[in-house]
């Protein structure tokens, strides 16, 4: 059986101030996976990825990248890894092309070896025209793409994307998604993604772990996780304004305003039944959308459960 792209066992991190950031977590990311590591702010995501990329010293535990222990053979382990951190961490006064080629040099690749690769990456990411510009002159989105190009120059087998689309407009975000999908599918690069855009995780990732208070509270496939959703809430836009909230047998309905209803559907219930009843009461629905992203409902619920507060919105089947 192939070694997992990332294997974490009993990872613990206690900061100097006594804060217990990671409480012995176990995590496994299969080779070729597109994996989401989600959690609220301060949950331990960045600390986990910081340990993997050696920016954070672990207190205890074991980390292996493609079967290579980062403590025993850090050089070979790091060679497998590309990191796109949350914050811009390149020299803003260097030129775009120099930043990427210098990174290649840090991995022992000569200019001759990686010039073509550099050109390909910069072209793919729409930065080739800006290759002679200093990094500080780039827009926020371009800087994000520059960090992706830099992380990929040495063809890592495992890529960590720590909120890669933060602050990026939706059009660019979607083009970055398609690029990430491509490198995952065509180059076989395993990807670990952290993001606050849960729609992004739901769209891209096959497996998911949710971390809260330094503990993994869920680790499963995206499909299995979404089947745990027992209730979905939809917003219905009406053709004509209504005065009273229609009553639907077996369904929970709330009136948002005169032209919009909020309909909650339990797992197993059929939307057709609700529409049938609405039709009988003369209510015409012209469009419908999820009130919140499905993963978002689950995420909020799981985090609240692990924090000990009452769940709101989507509920989890036990």
């Amino acid at each position: 059986m192939a070694e997992p792209a990332l294997s974490i066992r009993g990872l613990t991190k206690v900061y100097d101030n006594g804060f217990h950031a990671l409480k012995g977590i176990d995590l496994e990311v299969p080779q070729g996976d597109f994996f989401a590591l989600l959690g609220p702010n301060g949950a331990g995501k960045s600390t986990t990825l910081g340990v993997v990329s050696s920016l954070v010293r672990k207190t205890a535990g074991e980390v292996k990248i493609h079967g290579i222990d980062i403590d025993r053979d850090f050089s070979r382990a790091k060679y497998q890894l590309g990191v796109v951190p949350q914050e811009f961490n390149f020299n803003q006064f260097e030129k775009v092309e120099d930043i990427v080629l210098t990174q290649a040099g840090y991995y022992g690749l000569s200019m001759r070896e990686c010039r073509d690769r550099c050109r390909q990456l910069l072209e793919d990411l729409g930065l080739w025209e800006k290759r002679h510009a200093t990094a500080r002159m780039l827009s926020g989105g371009m800087k994000r793409r520059l960090m992706i190009a830099r992380a990929l120059i040495h063809r890592p087998r495992l890529l960590i994307l720590d909120e890669p689309t933060a602050g990026v407009d939706i059009e660019l975000r979607r083009s970055m998604w398609s690029y990430m999908r491509r490198i995952n599918a065509e180059e076989g690069t395993s990807i670990i993604l952290t993001t606050h855009y849960l729609e992004e995780a739901e769209n891209l990732c096959r497996n998911i772990a949710i971390i809260n208070h330094g503990e993994i509270v869920e680790n499963t496939s995206m499909r299995d996780l979404l089947t745990q959703l027992t209730r979905e809430t939809f917003l219905l836009d009406l053709a004509r304004p209504i005065e009273a909230t229609p009553s639907l047998a077996g369904f929970e309905v709330e009136q948002v305003d005169a032209s919009q209803l909020m309909l909650s559907i339990e797992k197993g219930q059929r939307l057709n039944d609700a529409f049938h009843q609405l039709g009988e009461q003369g209510v015409d629905v012209v469009s419908m959308r999820n009130r919140a992203n499905r993963l978002e409902e689950l995420f909020v619920s799981l985090v609240e459960q692990s924090s000990g507060s009452a769940p709101q919105g989507g509920e989890i089947r036990s």
């Binding site: 070979r76 120099d98 690749l109």
Partner: protein, 257 residues
Amino acid sequence: MSMRQLAIALWTIIVREIRRFMRIWPQTLLPPSITMTMYFIIFGNLIGSRVGQMDGVDYMSYIVPGLIMMSVITNSYSNVASSFFGNKFQRSVEELIISPMPNWLILSGYVVGGAARGLCVGIIVTIVSLLFTDLHMVHPLLTAVVVIMTALLFSVGGFINALLANKFDDISIVPIFVLTPLTYLGGVFYSIHTLPDFWQGVSLINPILYMVNTFRYGILGISDIDVGWAVSAIAAFIVVFFVVGLKLLERGKGLRS
């Protein structure tokens, strides 16, 4: 990493460092040239003509080695201190930490890059000095060895300073309050034989005195101290500083949480 990969990685850091100080040459190469020209005009020409000779050579020639060494020391030190701290501040140092490069290679790259700036400035100051006096090197090999060793030593010093620094002010404290006084009192402008016995004794605990005098011996053939002992001491300091820098880097002082 293979030997070839290590060599490429080392060369990458060195080239990056050289490119950095070349890119900002009005801040890195020009000011020391202007400052040293002022020293030559004021101390060498105007005051030096009244001083006459020092240890048997004319005063202008006497101060040239010290002034070259002074510029090498300050520029080697400040190059690494500001470059590495700048990388820490911008977080671009993370590129290095995440990479597979061993710590000794990162340290060596910065140190050689810093020494390169020190030596560049040293060459510029030497060329400027030729406008004011003739230089005939008595021991060219020793001169080269001492100036390179000194540049390396202070580059490592700058690296340690950058690792320990938490803010930009911290990288100017050592040059202002330690290096400048020690350099001025290190026999750049005078022979310690002109001092009273007590101050001669005090001067002998100043490490920069040994570097300046060994360098002066290489160029002019005159020295206040034992040159062989001085070269050994500089080599020992380089080793000690390198080990300290490496240990701090391994501990991730100011770099890893």
